[in-house]
């Protein structure tokens, strides 16, 4: 656990403090995201935790001990740190870069080698990169090395300052997914700084919204913050698509799925018509024998008396049960059938309708 109590940082010569009377409790094993406009004191706050910046007043504890009581270099070796521009050592190979803190802690060579192999796998990098220099890697690969280096001595706490700021949106999304995946396995106490709201709600178990001067405007789970912003600042900071962002937080699997107007291939057209009617639908979905999606047909086009043998149209898009309600909405508004078919590894599970999404937002 990390606690900040009435922390103030007043840089010499500045007219107003960069951070003023900030109190924050960061739970063990969670990702806490500090987000806010540029210059609001995010980096300052983060650096006070590992004493790269000394607070003017107030107290900070990590794992129950006040950081002031420890020699800074010892404290820092127990806190993983990924800085805004990664800061890999250009004169050291990737192997040596990753081994930085174990080297400082004086581990023996065999133990370091073993740990480096573990880490390279953990962050999904190729072993052949170990003997390269940082400039011989792509931006995304360097980010991963930065994360591996911060994790090297298995610190309970990680501080990350815009760790994915320097890569393109696609790679960033992938790295974010990897961080979440990694966190499920390593369960660190992570404090992450970003100025990207989407990144904050995606990664944070808790999100702290800061205003200029390090003023804490709201500190809660992303669901609560997006659902009920504390004030106008938070509301405008979150943006007009706040509702959509919130939908992005709910996975489809939490819904009670509707079965929808679907029949198996081989059903009589009479049955198909009555299924469609009971769902108030003008189309009927057709499933293959192994419950995969075959497609759909307009009810009008069904033979008067016969068997459903094929579908007239294909589904152009669908969602997986791990996807979010935001993804489902995307599918609904872009399809002729106005539903999103939900699959679980290819097998049909049910459908999501606009009504269901509304109902979910309202609760």
């Amino acid at each position: 656990m990390i606690t900040l109590t009435d922390v103030t940082k007043h840089y010499e010569g500045a007219t107003t403090p960069a951070v003023e009377n900030l109190s924050l409790t960061i739970e063990e094993g969670t990702i806490t995201v500090l987000v806010g406009p540029s210059g609001c004191g995010k980096t300052t706050t983060l650096k006070m935790i590992n004493r790269l910046i000394e607070p003017t007043s107030g107290d900070i504890t990590v794992g129950g001990n006040s950081v002031i009581d420890r020699p800074p270099h010892e404290l820092r070796r127990e806190i993983g740190y990924v800085i805004q521009h990664i800061g890999l050592f250009p004169h050291k190979t990737i192997r040596k870069n990753i081994a930085t803190v174990p080297h400082l802690l004086g581990w023996d060579a065999a133990r370091i080698a073993e740990r480096v192999d573990e880490l390279i796998e953990l962050v999904d990098l190729d072993e052949e990169m170990l003997d390269r220099y940082p400039h011989e890697l792509s931006g995304g690969q360097r980010q991963r090395v930065g994360v591996a280096r911060a994790l090297a001595a298995d610190p309970p706490v990680m501080l990350m300052d815009e760790p994915f700021g320097a890569v393109d949106p696609i790679v960033r999304g992938k790295l974010q997914d990897e961080l979440l995946d990694l966190q499920r396995r390593v369960k660190k106490t992570i404090v992450l700084v970003t100025h990207d709201v989407d990144e904050a709600v995606k990664l944070g178990d808790k999100v702290a919204i800061l205003n200029i001067g390090g003023v804490l405007e709201q500190y809660d789970s992303p669901e609560v913050i997006l659902g009920s912003p504390a004030n106008d600042f938070v509301r405008s900071f979150l943006g007009t698509d706040r509702g959509l962002k919130r939908l992005g937080l709910f996975p489809i699997e939490t819904l009670q799925l509707d079965t929808g107007p679907f029949v198996g291939v081989g059903a009589t057209t009479a049955v198909a018509r009555s299924v469609a009617q009971s769902h108030n639908s003008e189309w009927i979905g057709v499933l293959a024998e192994d419950d995969t999606l075959l497609g759909w047909s307009p009810v009008d086009s069904l033979a008067v008396d016969g068997v459903v043998t094929e579908a007239a149209e294909r589904f152009l898009s669908w969602v997986d049960c791990n996807d979010s309600l935001r993804d489902a909405l995307e599918v609904i508004i872009s399809s002729h059938t106005r539903i999103a078919a939900v699959l679980d590894g290819g097998t049909f599970k049910g459908i999501v309708t606009l009504d269901q999404i509304y109902a979910e937002i309202m609760t």
């Binding site: 790269l52 820092r76 740190y81 800061g87 004169h91």
Partner: protein
Amino acid sequence: MTTVVAAPLIRWDWVFRNGDKIVERIIEHLILTGLAVGFGIAIALVLTAIILRWRGAYGPITGITGLMYSIPSVALFAFFVPITGITILTAEIALVSYTLLILIRNTIAGLDGVPNDVREAATGMGYTRRRLLFEIELPLALPVIITGIRIATVTVIGLVTISSLIGLGGLGQFILQGLTTFSSPIGTTKIFLGTGLSIVLAIVIDLGLVLVERLVTPWARRVAN
């Protein structure tokens, strides 16, 4: 009636006959250069350490060493001869004082050139001030530091030639002797020999230092490939 026979500029037979003497002069030259650069580096290191500790010392130290750098070597010799006599010490004081500004300025410039994010990452991961300097900052500054050593060394090789003027060894001796017997073919041979060998020595040592730089900075080498 006299016939003027054009004398050859270089008497190679003299060169071959005096091979051992030439080698001796080259070795003297190298020793004088090595001593100057060696002591120069040692003193520059101490002064650089002082600057790193007290940044305010940078101005005064570069001011004084800059002054030493700008005094003509002959004047400096003349100034010290009455005090320290015609000794190696006199020559070395002059030579060392020439290297200091170059060495200190390049070392500081090299250290200042270390990217800030690298320094911050290192500190943030638990490097102490001392280990940061030796394991991160100095290695990264090496190319610039070695450039300083190269300039200092080449300069000193040239100046050692002049130090022969106060009667010390080195290749300058040949030039001095050559000047006193200028009209004879042996005289011109000596002048050419002294000058030419000084230049060759400077070039060879400079190339050697380039090689050293490439060896100690493997990461920089691969940038070019």
